[in-house]
Amino acid sequence: MNQLGFPLLSLILWLPAAGALALLFVPRANAGLARQVSLATMIATFLLSLLLPLRFETNPMQMAVVGAPPVMQFVEEVPWLPIVGATYSLGIDGISLWLVMLTTFLGPIVTLSTWDSVHKDVRNFQILLLILQTAMIGVFVAQDLLLFYLFWEFTLIPMTFLIGIWGSQNRIYAARKFFLYTFAGSVLMLLALIALHILHRDAIAAVEPGFRGTFSFSQFVSDLRAGRLTLDTTTERLLFGAFFLAFAVKVPLWPFHTWLPDAHVEAPTAGSVVLAGVLLKLGGYGMIRYNLTLFPAASQWAAPALAVLAVIGIIYGAAVAFAQSDMKKLVAYSSVSHMGFVVLGIFALNAEGISGALLQMVNHGLSTSALFLMVGVLYERRHTRELAEYGGLWKVMPVFAAFSLLVALSSAGLPGLNGFVGEFTIITGAFRSPLLGWIYVAFAVGGVVLAAAYLLKLFRSVFMGDVSQPANATLPDLNRRELTAFALLSIPIVVIGVYPAFFFAGMQHSVAALVADLIAQAAGS
C-alpha cells in the first residue's frame, strides 16, 4: 500500500544521485562549493526521509496473517525487465524503516566530516559519497531481488574508490582486498538468486503456462507460504548458505572479518564512518529480510551453529580489539564484536532477538560512526593513530573528551544509553529462544565486560594521564563543524537509550509477522 500520492521512496533514493550529477557541473577546483552542494543534498534527503516515520503505519490494517507476504509501505512498482519479470519495485516495512533513517541521518554528518579530512580532489570525493548514499538506500528499499542485488554490488564501487584513492599508506591493497572479498561472497548470492528465479518460474509455469518468472520478493514469499513453490530441504539449505555467505562477509561474521580492519585503517575518516555506519548493516538487514523470510526451515536448522559463530565473533573481536595499539583497528574490531551481537540476536529467531538486533544495528551505526569521527578528529590534528602518541587530552580538549566519553560508554552498553537497550534485548531474545541455551548468553555477557575493558583502555590512554607529548598540549578543541557532528550524533544516542519504545513500535508489526512465519514453518516442517 502507498499512503502518499507521490513516489516518496524513489525521490529519497535518487536525490543523492541527482546531487552527484549536479556536482559534475561544479568546477573541479572549487572545493568549497562542492562540499556545500553535497551537504545540501544530504540534508535535503534526510529532511525528505523524515516523512517516512511520520506517515508510517505502525500497525497497518492487514493483520499479520500467517502466510501473507510482509506488508510493505510506500510501495512503488514499475516494470523494468519484463522478459525476466524483474520490476523496479520499492517499499519499506518495520525492518528497513530505521535503517533507511540511519543512512539518511548519517549522510550530512559524513559530509560534514569531509570539511577537514579531505583536501585533494574534493569534488570527486563528494560525488562518490552521494552515489554511495543512493546505493545504500537502494539496498534497503528495493523489494525486487534483482534490484536489490544491483544496488548491493553497486555499493562496492564507490567504497573501493574511496579507500583506494583517498586512503593512507597501502590503500590499494586494502581497497583490492575489500572489493574482492565482498564480491566473492556476493557472487554466490547471485547464483542463488537465479536458481530461486528458475525454480520459481518452473514451479509456477507448470500451473499457469506462459509465466515468465519474477524477481519480486513478496511474490516469492507468498508463493512459498501458499505452497505453490516448495523447496526440498537440501536446496533450501544450499540457497540459505549462498545468501548467508554474502551477508556474513558483509556483517562481518567471525571467520570472514579480516577485510574490515585493513579497510578501516586505510579508509579516510568519512569513508570509515560510512563503512562502519551503514555498510555493515546491509549484511544484517539482508539476513533478516532474505535468509529468515525466504528460508525459515533452513534458518531453524542453521541457527544454533551460526549463533556459535556470532558468539565467537563477540569474544574474539573484543579480545583482539583490546590488544590493538592502532585506534582505528581497535574500533574496527569493536565493530566485529558488536555485529556479533546483532547476528546472535537475529538467530535467536524470536521477537526480542530480531527487534533487538535491528535496534542494535541502528545503535552501532550511531556509536561507531561517532567513534570513527573521534579518531578522525585526532588524526587530523596529530596525523597518527597510535594510542601511545596521545595522553591527557581531557585537560587539553575538554568538550571533545566529554563527547568521546559519552560515545565510548554508549558503545560499551551503559544502561540509559542506546547500546544497552539493544544488547539487553538481544541477550533476552537469545536466552529465551528455544534454539539457543543460556551458555550462548553467558559468553555474550562476557563480551559486554570485555567491551568495557577495551573501550576504557582507549579512553584512558587518550584522555587520562598527564600530557606526556608536548605536541598534545596545544591541540585545538572541536571546531564548530565537528561540534555539530558530535552533537547531532549524541542526541539519538541518548534518546534511544531513554525512550526506545518509539523505535520498537515502528518495527513491531513486521517483526511479529516474521516471527509468526518462522514459528509456523518450524511447526509445519
Binding site: P255, A319, A323, K395, V448, G465, V498
Partner: protein, 642 residues
Amino acid sequence: MELLIWLIPLLPFIGFLLNVFVIRREREAGLVASGVVVAAFVVTLIAVAMLAGMPPEERRIVSTAWEWINTGSFRVPFAIMFDPLTAVMALLITGVGALIHIYSIGYMHGDPRVVRYFAYLNLFVTMMLFLVMANNLLLLFLGWEGVGLCSFLLIGFWFERKSAGEAAVKAFIVNRIGDAAFILAMLAVFTYFGTLNFYGDGEGGQIGFLERVSDIAGLRIGPDWQPIFVSTAISFLLLIGATGKSAQFPLFVWLPDAMAGPTPVSALIHAATMVTGGVYLMARTEALFTASFTTQGWVAWIGAVTALLAGTAAMAQWDIKRVLAYSTVSQLGFMVAACGMGAYVAAIFHLLTHGIFKALLFLAAGSVIHGTHDTQDMRRMGGLKDAMPITFRTYVIGALALAGIVPLAGFWSKDEILAHAISHGHTPIFIILFLTSLLTAFYMGRQVALVFFGTQRDPGYHPHESPAIMTVPLIVLAVGAVIGGVINLPVLHWLTDWLEPVLHEKAGEFNIWLALIATIGAVGTGYLGWWVYTTNAARIKIGGKDPAYRYSGDIWEGMEEAWYLDRLYQRTVVAGFEQLANFLARVFDPQGVDGLVMGIGRFFGGLANGVRALQTGYVRTYALVFTVGVLLVLGVMLWFAR
C-alpha cells in the same frame, strides 16, 4: 504523592544538568549542588512522614512514568516506588550526601575543575536514588551501572595522576564483571517470572515477581547431571553481582585502590552509599534468597571471610584512607554475613549506622589530609590532636563507634548481628565475626595513636584545623554516630517495625552477656592498639617498617598486601587475557584467518603459473594440446552416447 517521590531523584538530576551546562563559577557550583541535595533530603523527609501516616500494609507507592522497553512480550516500564526500605536508604543517601556536598565545598576549594566535580557528585546521587527507588530490576541496573560510571569519573577525577586513572578503570571493570552476572540474573528472572517488576503497579497490573517467588519453588535448570534450583541459580547470580558492587571476597580488590579519588568521594561512594548497593539488593530480593538454602550459606560465608580478611589487611596499612577502605570492606562483610544468616533488619541497621560513622571517619581523615597538605602516609603524621582539636574529637567518636563501644551507634548494630548469629546457631560465623570486631577495635586504636598521638614525625608541614564549612558536617555526623543507635535499640525496635511490611522480620531478644563480652573485648583491644603505637612511637620512621613486624614478619607483609590477592588476579586473569589478546591480534588473526583468505588467493596464483608452462611457443605443442582436446571431446561424447 507520586509527584513528590519523582522529585527526589529529579532534584539532584537538575543540579547535575545545571552544573554541566549552565554554571561555570566554583562558588555557584558548590551552593547549587549542595542545595539541591539538601532539598532532596527535605523532600525525602516529607515523603517518609507521609508514608508513616499510611497504614503499615499499604506503605508502598508505585509510579510509572513511561514504557521504557516494549518489544514482543518483553515489557519494562520506567517506574519508581517508595516503601519503608527505600525510604530508609533514601534518607541515608540524601542526608549523608548533603553533608558531604557541603564538606566538599571546603575540601575542593581552589581545584580548577570543581564545577565538573559537583556535576559528577550530583549525577551520582541521582543514580543512587534510582538504584534504591527502582520498581524493576532493569531500572535498578540503570542506577547500578550509573553509580559505577560516577565512581569511575570521580576516582579518576585527578586523571593527571597515573594511579587515579588505573584505579578508575579497574573499579569500573571489576564492577562490570559483577554486572555481567547481574544481567544473567535479570534474564533468568524474566524467563521464569515473565516480568522484572518487584511489585505490581497498583492498578491491577501484573503483580511483581517478588510476590510470586513460590511459583519457582520446585523448578530446576542446568545440566541434568547437576540440576540446581532456579531460585538458587538466580540468587547466586545476584550474589555475584552484589559482591562486585559491595566489594566482597572475590571482587573487593578495586575498593582499596579507589582511594586515589578525592576523600569526600571516598566518604560518599566508598563508605556510605554505593558499596551498600549490593546489601540493599540482597535485602530487596530477600524473598529469592530465603527461598534457596544453599545460596544463604554461600552469602554468610562470603561475608564472614571478607570481614576477617579485610580486617587483617586493615591492621597493616600505612595510608590513612586505605585503613578505612579495608575497614569498610570488613564492615560490609558483616552486613553480607547478616543477610546470609537471614538477619536482614540487622544488616540494614548496621548499614545505616556504618554509613554515618564511616562517612564521619573518612571526612575527618580528609580534614587531616587537608590540614597536613595532602600527606596520606600515617608514618609522616603524629601529634595532631592539639593542632586539629575538632577533627581529633570527631575522629575519636567515629573510631569508638566503629569499634563498637557501648553507647555509640556501632555497638548496637554490630551487637544485633552477633546476637542473631548466636541465637540462630551460626557459631563458626559468630566466632569469625567476633574476632573481626576485635581486630577492628585494634586497628582503630592503632590509627588514632599513629595520627593524633606521639610527636609530628614529618616537619615538612605545619598542621592547621580545617575551616568551619568542613568541621560543621563533622560535628553533625559525630552527633549522628552517638545517637545513631537509637534507630533500633534492642527494646524499642523502631527499625524492625518500620521495615516489617517489607522484610517481614520479628525482633530478636537482647543478649546481655554477649553485649558485656563484646564491649570488654572491644575496649581491651582498642586500648592495646593505642598503647602499642604510642609506646613505640619513637621506633616508627618515615618509610620504615611497622613495629609489629619484628614479631610477625612475613604475615604482616602479607596482610599489608591483602594476602597478595590483587597481585594474584593481576598475574593470572589480567595478564592471561592480555597474552591471549596479543596472541589473537598479532598471530592468529593476521596469519590464521587472514592467512587462510590470502592463502586461497596464492593457491590460484600458483595454479595459473603451472598452466603458463604449457605456452612453449612451439606450434607442435599447441597441436598436441589441440589433439588432447579433441580426444577429451570424443571421450565425453562416447561417455554420454553409450
